[in-house]
């Protein structure tokens, strides 16, 4: 789960990492007590807000009011700004980059740091990024921190302060089951001291049960996706107009890919998983209907799951509630013949192969 910048900074504060003096502002009254100049920052779960006009500074109250009203409610890549963070400006001596991510290949946390912060880390040359991997069996050790800090070209006292921050964010990363903690920029202030000017904190969804203090916000999901998540259904809205229901994430992805081959475009990714529970099938279809696809493509492979059981579930939904778009089905595996009979009986189109079904779905949807 991605945390908004301000919530990430609350965690930083909890771990003793300095952040600028600031607060969420809902209206002008909230400006009182903050010293000018300050910065107004749109809280959105996505990068690139600066370029989109989501960050503006204010030298005085008028400017603050004006810029606040510009930012609040604006749209940044599909996300409406509902929260604005106001933060006092800080005199910057040096900007660094610091993050911890999961290295999937090494199966370890990876600490990355650079003496060049404040810009997109992808644009920093590899030679200027320093990496340390932390084996989870031993956790962070002094040598990891020394290995990074000694290469950042810092003065001795600065290095000591940065070392402390690394140790603290690792603790945060580990204790809050993070997938990502990023500080960009981490700054050395003109008057000394180290401060996190931004925060990106991403907590592993599957570990949220261990962190009851983190209120879930699911800011990056659409309303239907949130609904699906609560129901435990893997459901993702995409740009196209064909709703794909399949069993298994890989098969669902492969089905979307097959559509693309025939110029069709998936509008929904819906993975039924291993279930043939009629209740779950019904919930899935209901969600799919709400997404209003032009065509629904049901692609099943029955391994352990029996195709006819799923088909019965589908039939009962359709019989009970009706369906207002064509449904193409492609069924393979355990009891596939019985399943096809049931689906035909429910008025659905049964295709023979994945290619055939994908072609027909794409044609019906009218291409992209």
């Amino acid at each position: 789960m991605k945390l908004f910048e301000y919530r990430g900074k609350e965690l930083f504060d909890k771990y003793g990492i300095a952040v600028p003096n600031g607060r969420l502002v809902k209206d002008e009254k909230d400006f009182s007590g903050l010293n000018f100049p300050f910065v107004l920052k749109a809280q959105v779960p996505i990068g690139g807000r600066g370029k989109a006009g989501g960050i503006k500074s204010a030298e005085n109250l008028n400017e603050a009011k004006e810029n606040f009203s510009k930012i609040m409610g604006m749209d940044i890549k599909g996300h409406t700004v509902r929260k604005v963070l106001a933060e006092e400006k800080v005199d910057i001596k040096k900007e660094l980059y610091l993050s911890i991510t999961l290295d999937r290949s090494k199966r370890m946390p990876l600490i990355m740091a650079s003496g060049e912060g404040g810009m997109d880390i992808e644009s920093v040359p590899d030679g200027k990024i320093f990496n340390e991997w932390v084996n989870p069996l031993i956790g962070i050790q002094s040598f990891h921190i020394r290995g990074i800090v000694s290469k950042l070209g810092l003065e001795k006292e600065e290095g000591k302060e940065v070392a402390k921050v690394i140790s603290k964010i690792y603790k945060l990363f580990r204790e809050y089951d993070c997938e990502l903690v990023e500080i960009n920029p981490l700054i050395i202030k003109k008057d000394g001291g180290v401060m996190a000017l931004d925060s990106k904190v991403n907590i592993n969804d599957d570990a949220m049960y261990r962190h009851p203090d983190i209120e879930p916000e699911l800011v990056e999901l659409t309303p239907l996706e949130k609904d699906a998540k609560e129901k435990g259904i893997a459901f993702i809205q995409l740009d196209g107009n064909i709703g794909v229901i399949a069993n298994g994430a890989g098969l669902t992805m492969a089905t979307l890919d097959a559509l693309a081959h025939f110029k069709g475009a998936g509008g929904v990714f819906l993975d039924l998983g291993g279930t043939d529970d009629p209740e779950k099938v019904m919930q899935a279809f209901e969600l799919m209907k709400k997404a209003k696809p032009k065509v629904i493509f049901l692609n099943l492979f029955g391994g352990i799951t029996k195709c006819d059981t799923v088909a019965k579930g589908v039939k009962s939904v359709i019989t009970k509630e009706g369906i207002d778009c064509p449904v193409i089905t492609r069924i393979k595996g355990m009891n596939e013949d019985a399943a096809k009979e049931i689906l035909k009986d429910a008025g659905l189109i049964t295709a023979t192969t994945l290619q055939d079904a994908a072609r027909r779905s794409s044609d019906l949807a009218g291409g992209t």
């Binding site: 997938e179 979307l256 890919d257 355990m334």
Partner: protein
Amino acid sequence: MSIFVDEKNKVVVQGATGHQGVFHIGEMLAFGTKVVAGVTPGKAGQEVHGVPVFNNVGDAVDETGANTSLVLVPARFAKDAVFEALDSGIKTVVTITENIPFHDAMEFVHYAKYKDAVLIGPNSPGIASPGKSKIGILPGSIFLEGNVGVASRSGTLTYEIVNSLKEKGIGQSTCVGLGGDPIIGTTFIDALDTFEADKETKAVVLVGEIGGTAEEDAAEHITEYISKPVFAFIAGRTAPSGKRMGHAGAIIARGKGTAASKIKAFEKADVKLAKFPTDIADLVEEYS
């Protein structure tokens, strides 16, 4: 031969008395797997399809000589279960459980290495060596004994591919589901090395998907170390960036993990790529 599992694997099922446990113990026994024990704390003395249940893995190992574990426990108990298996001397751990916190998985993946044990998964459908043993929740009906090795990050998609191999009369030496999580024990590289060393295996099929760089790593490895022909399918060519596509591991993050990158890497390594999952069988058939 086969890789990782064969008729010598004596399986203890952790989480034996739940719905899934009972069902799959039955399925595995029907496949011919030597399921020798189940474990559910507090349920010692019970039986599941005639298989004795113990309170803990240590007792099961002592009493039955189990050397392999199938982990079916809920996610929040999975780390404990894998550690218990490893500390009880189990040398092959197949972890089906999904939604395990990544930090837990990181710990037990490395602990398995410390124990010189093979860890498959988590979020794996299991592993099957047709004619010998099936450990997991893979459907037994899709397999055929033969000499194609299959390693996959996916479940149903793999069943589909294996089934289409079977329909063309192409059998499998071993089919290993590596798991759909970002942090897994056995990787494509491990599977490739083991298939390469396995005399029975003549060709390898890899089923990859978006997320991470496991396929890119595998492609490099193939160029350098693998002499057997490799076929691959990559799912998620149309997946958008930043969305988890069902599997916890299937996500394009910060520009990394795209299907395009994986396909390019495989092409460079002379891996034959299929457009549709069911095409794999045609490619393998053409080759042989």
